[in-house]
């Protein structure tokens, strides 16, 4: 039973590369070191929801066709389209993404990736303000203050804390596992005391056993040595339960809270008692912790990019961290979702100059989010054909955008029959990147990692890279025939 070590997991932006797989009869049978989502992927990818043969919609129904027919149909659609969009890219390899750029340039289309519904606003912010950041190892070694704002790593990046932040050992900072266990014990102890009081068993509780609802000073955990964890969110998430300090902000009001912090870290006084429901004393504690730390890191997620203000929320978050560098060392990092959305941004940028929303329709790359972003193109009904790869906009885009996506010819390349594939006109099954085909992916901190091929793909199923190359070749053939005959 061969065991494959150092496998890179192709799920989220953590890109954990210490996964150990046991492979038997061309199937993954055991996963070691992975989180629940990782296991689900490696053990569950061979589900019945997988397409085996290319499909073309004929008379309203998807029917199986030979590969050549599907390639030709797809190439025809793209070569004849006036303003096609090529979208997705975040769950495939850099090798495939490169072909994507070439194909989009060849047909004069718009190239966009899932950043548009994820950290696109963060990119726009970075382009305006810059970003003080680092690789994840710097945090592991040095960070003694870790803040997650508007994101829930426990649910979306489950091993983030144990691999890179609070629960990991660094050269200069120790893991906070012990602190966490003590907290859990104390919480369990508190519950027992509360229940005992309710039942009337304990008559005279001593002062320290009961914590008042409103805190008069910082929680004792904020004054401790070692790593501190602060969570800021609109609701108490699973991550918030393990934090040393949890700040609850009102939805759509993060901007004001951040600006308040910016003032506080510059030793300015605030005239109000509360900022959007958060007492100023709480904010003063956070500001204090930020300024006093040796190395702080602020991770942020879609709680900031998707709520009111969008990129302005990120502007102010980055500005806050940048200002903190006047007083101590601080960094900020977006929690990228898909395992290779960073790769898509990186590849698009080096080849075209722009990270997403790249419009090639004039023969050279143009970039104007709001105009050239696929979301807006769909909402304004401007595109006349689409190729969707390694993503599922039908499951992730607002209804109105999906309507137009479905109304125009839709080509889908994906291993699964996902929601978009169910409504496609030409569907190509492809191999799972990171399981059935290797390649390169970029972690959320821009570190490139190799993905492994651990099993063979089912017979007849090609890789994204191969499918795209064939479509590109066929597009060139069709176009040269057109110029010959004209």
């Amino acid at each position: 039973m061969p065991i494959v070590n150092a496998v890179t997991c192709p799920v989220c932006g953590c890109l954990c590369d210490d996964i150990e797989l046991t492979v038997e009869n061309n199937e993954v049978v055991k996963v070691k070191n992975g989180c629940a989502i990782c296991e689900s992927k490696f053990l569950g990818y061979k589900s019945e929801h997988r397409t085996r043969k290319p499909l073309i919609r004929k008379n309203g129904e998807l029917v199986e066709v030979p590969l050549e027919e599907a390639i030709h149909k797809a190439a025809e659609i793209l070569a004849n389209a006036n303003y096609p969009i090529l979208y997705g890219w975040s769950s495939t390899s850099c090798e495939a993404q490169r072909v994507g750029v070439e194909l989009t340039e060849e047909i004069g289309g718009v190239l966009d990736n899932t950043s548009v519904v994820c950290h696109g606003p963060s990119i726009l912010s970075i382009q305006e303000v810059g970003i003080p950041s680092c690789t994840l190892g710097q945090i592991r070694h040095r960070a003694d203050l870790i803040i997650y704002w508007g994101c829930d790593p426990w649910s979306a990046h489950p091993r983030h804390l144990e691999r890179y932040t609070t629960f990991t050992e660094g050269r200069f900072e120790k893991s906070d596992w012990k602190g966490y266990l003590q907290k859990v014990k104390a919480a369990a102890g508190k519950k027992k005391i509360k229940s005992a009081l309710r039942r009337g068993v304990v008559k005279h509780p001593s002062e320290h056993m009961l914590k008042p609802e409103t805190m008069s000073g910082p929680p004792p955990t904020m004054m401790k040595e070692g790593r501190k964890l602060i969570i800021v969110d609109v609701r108490k998430t699973m991550s918030a339960e393990i934090a040393d300090y949890f700040i609850q902000v009102e939805p759509n009001k993060d901007y004001e809270v951040m600006q308040a912090l910016r003032a506080l870290i510059r030793d300015q006084e605030l005239d109000v008692d509360k900022v959007d429901g958060v007492p100023v004393e709480y904010l003063e504690e956070v500001a204090d912790a930020m300024v006093r730390c040796e190395f702080g890191i602020l991770f942020f997620g879609l709680g900031l990019t998707m709520s009111a203000g969008k990129l302005r929320n990120i502007d102010v978050a980055i500005s806050l961290v940048r200002d903190l560098n006047m007083r101590t060392k601080f960094a900020i990092m977006p929690m990228r979702g898909h395992f290779n959305v960073t790769g898509a941004n990186v590849v698009f940028t080096w080849q075209s100059g722009y990270p997403y929303a790249v419009d090639f329709s004039l023969g050279y790359p143009r970039y104007n989010p709001g105009e050239t972003t696929v979301m807006d193109i769909l909402l304004r009904k401007e595109s006349d054909a689409s190729l969707v790869i390694a993503s599922d906009p039908a499951a992730n885009f607002p209804r109105k955008a999906v309507e137009h996506l479905v109304k125009t010819p839709l080509i889908v390349i994906d291993p699964h029959m996902n929601a978009t594939a169910l409504m496609g006109d030409v569907v190509f099954p492809s191999a799972f990147v990171g399981i059935e085909v290797g390649g390169t992916a970029y972690r959320m901190d821009h570190v490139p990692l190799p993905l492994k091929k651990v099993v063979e793909p089912p017979e007849g199923i090609l890789t994204d890279e191969e499918i795209l190359k064939r479509i590109l070749e066929e597009v060139r053939t069709i176009k040269s025939k057109k110029t010959e005959s004209s």
Binding site: V11, A36, I37, S40, K41, G44, S47, E48, H49, R50, V116, V117, G120, P121, L124, D152, W154, S155, A156, P158, V234, R235, K236, T237, M238, E241, P251, N252, L302, G303, T305, M306, S307, A308, K310, L311, P369, G370, T373, V374, M375, D376, L379, D392, A394, A395, N396, P398, R399, K400, A401, V402, E403, V406, H416, M417, N418, A419, L422, M423
Partner: protein, 133 residues
């Protein structure tokens, strides 16, 4: 006193079950159960007389959809409901992109009412009814 409708703020986002489900396949039972539901505050559910694991109708200016109401297991979140990413959330989430391509997936004003008799559609049925395919 049981109210008829409640004004809330709609958030959409990830959950670990949605993550596990999507890797199993968008057609899988795990995915369906993970994304056709809605976390609600226990107090709010009581106000509307909604029992745990029954259907509700959530409406925004963009449309309405039937999802299953589930009590939020952690601290109280009055006035906030949370539907995981997926086709159900997308029927009603905002498409206003603020000219930068990003719809307001979080923080949309919504209305909730009980809908015990309304059926919960499968993904295929939902796509068919929304997009005709």
């Amino acid at each position: 006193m049981v109210e008829e409708k409640l004004r809330v703020t709609l958030l959409t986002g990830r959950t670990i079950e949605q993550g596990v489900g999507k890797e199993r396949g968008k057609g899988s039972k795990e995915y369906f159960e993970a994304v056709s539901m809605c976390y609600m505050d226990a107090g709010d559910m009581k106000k509307l007389g909604i029992k745990n694991n029954t259907n509700i109708l959530v409406s925004t200016e963009n449309g309405s959809v039937v999802v299953k109401a589930v009590k939020y297991p952690r601290a109280a979140t009055p006035g906030i409901i949370y539907i995981p990413y997926g086709p159900w959330a997308n029927v009603i989430c905002s498409n206003k992109t603020s000219s930068i391509g990003m719809p307001s997936f979080k923080g949309t004003p919504a209305e909730v009412e009980p809908a015990r008799d309304k059926p919960l559609l499968t993904m295929k049925e939902l796509l068919k009814s929304e997009f005709g395919r």
